[in-house]
Symmetry: C2
Subunit: 360 residues, 2 copies
């Protein structure tokens, strides 16, 4: 099953689903012309698994490979600088094309690199993780982290194309799958009650890693994102809903210096904290809170964390990009399939929400 989704944006692009890595070359020959210079940015393990298959289709191009060490800490200005040196050494110019072969870290980093190298060169997203396929490869957000905050420096920079080969999920470690599941639950909670029911009723197949279920889950999940992104490319309104769980989650990730906690774990706990805050406000009914809690737990994701200091986490939320005039801006679920942007949350309420997800 091949599928093509067109994304309207300042620079429209296509998402291809169910295509193979080997087929990308033929598409690029048509799109950018033969014998262009390609800079393939990838992760060591992903490169080992998939580079050969990708290169098989790229014989018409001059290809250089830039391998980025694993880890969220590589989404940094230092790595951006190293990529710049390597690219120049390989003779890259304004006409070179960046191919981001990997997960969210590779896509965010390579995309930001492409957006600033020589003031912007073209790039292609080849997401190989569930997180990247259902979420981060779509929408044109690119960024690196900074000691002062996650994704603090970046650009809205749509790719030329998003090229999704479902077979790359087969080698994914379970923890990585969970990162994608967390974002998928988030998409269901903010905008798609049917996707929520789908996840509820297919828990066993999801946990058993059944390919057909994942294909459906991916397509449904990314459609939520595509819809919100098309309505609001630069995140001035509705696109903010995609941040459910992220204000809390980023604080957890920053506090742990991206070491002990995965993005999916951060988002899961963050989504639960936001849900508790919504419940305390009487925004969402206790039945639905329970459903969310059960689904997150049911898919093996955490709903709490041990031994953190709520005050420290509260302070780390101050660097959140949604905040305005020193006021924290939060996304809260109102019911399953519907969320709100809330601009009047008091620190007191946020601390209570943190306390509910922190165990001793």
């Amino acid at each position: 099953m091949k599928q093509k989704i067109e994304v309207a944006s300042s620079r429209p692009y296509s998402i291809f689903l169910g295509t193979t890595l080997e087929e990308l070359g033929a598409y690029l020959e048509e799109k950018v012309g033969r014998s262009q210079h390609l800079l393939i940015v990838t992760h060591p393990q992903v490169g080992e698994y998939y580079l050969e298959r990708l290169l098989k289709g790229l014989s018409a191009f001059r290809c250089d490979v830039l391998v980025v060490p694993p880890g969220e800490e590589e989404k940094s200005l230092e790595r951006l600088s190293a990529l710049t040196s390597e690219a120049v050494a390989y003779g890259a110019d304004r006409h070179s094309v960046v191919l981001a072969l990997g997960g969210g870290v590779i896509g965010d980093l390579a995309g930001f690199f492409a957006s600033v190298f020589m003031r912007g060169i073209r790039f292609v997203q080849i997401p190989t993780t569930l997180l990247a396929q259902v979420d981060s490869s779509i929408g044109g957000k690119t960024a690196v982290n900074h000691p002062a905050g996650k994704n603090l420096l970046g650009a809205f920079y749509p790719p030329l194309v998003v090229w999704t080969d479902f077979s790359t999920l087969q080698t994914l470690p379970w923890e990585e799958v969970q990162n994608g599941l967390a974002e998928t639950i988030k998409h269901a909670v903010i905008a798609d009650p049917e996707l929520f029911s789908f996840l509820q009723s297919h828990q066993p197949e999801i946990l058993a890693w059944t390919p057909e279920i994942y294909k459906e889950l991916t397509v449904r999940s990314l459609q939520v994102k595509v819809k919100l992104v098309m309505e609001d490319e630069k995140e001035k309104g509705q696109r903010m809903l995609l941040n459910l769980g992220h204000s809390f989650g980023h604080a957890l990730e920053t506090e742990a210096a991206y070491q002990e906690i995965s993005h999916g774990q951060g988002v899961s706990i963050g989504m639960i904290a936001a849900t508790y805050l919504a419940e305390a406000r009487g925004l969402i009914n206790p039945e639905e809170v329970k459903s969310i809690l059960n689904l997150v737990k049911g898919l093996g994701l955490p709903v709490s964390i041990q031994g953190k200091d709520p005050e420290v986490l509260l302070r780390l939320m101050e660097a959140d990009k949604k905040n305005q005039d020193g006021q924290k801006v939060l996304i809260l679920p109102e019911k399953i399939g519907h969320a709100l942007v809330v601009r009047d949350a008091r620190d007191e309420e946020i601390l209570r929400a943190w306390e509910k997800v922190i165990t001793e």
Copy 2:
């Protein structure tokens, strides 16, 4: 005399000429609303001279000042990172507005910072040098340098407005004036024979630093730039002509690590090298070569440099952003007021041109 020039671009903006620093506040109150948070990025000396006047008009805003040490070497990723930390510490958010008060370094750096901070916040150019007023504040190019090349990382990011107060030129050191004169001569050579004649016939007043002459020179010079930029915002064609002298000049600046040679000196010598290359090809006649040489010398700018190695400079031209598929792309004057993009220059010819501008 106040003047307003509208620049059509992906995000249109206005250039105000002959306005005062004190008046900017009232304009911004209308444009972005009162009580916004402003981050004023400036140079120590410029701040000392002009910050007080600027702040006088900004009482309706919350202002923080970020002072960048002097020098082209501050156009770096390291300084970008430091600005990020400072901005977060000052509580900057997506709604903050960056004001770049200074010359080309401040405008390029603060503009690039604004383009990537939280994926892009608004910014205002307040050019205080001749170079910035006639050239670098216009056209939306922002960048930092990288050890592998000048302006290698950046963005096309139009400002909200360019606000030019001619009175700031009064405190400008002569070497800084020369940086602006070099770009003005360049504008004349590539696109405006009348501006060339104007410069020829007003050499004494230019050297005597006569304000009225500088106003006229600034308006004429920036109009050349505005015209080329509007025709070709992303530098895919005609805008490249603005690079006359820069392929050679950037190599000189990079070789000297931006220390012993100013940008204007680099551009002047580079423009002369390009002119010699054009002459050797029979593109431009010897009379006009002489006129260009005389004008550059007449305005006190260098036409040669001592003790450099042509081979080293040739290699440094390989990182030029205009190059394509390993072929150097040069801008050459064809006659005064007209230049060409040349894509077949051989290294041999370039070496000969370098030799003509290098003395023992």
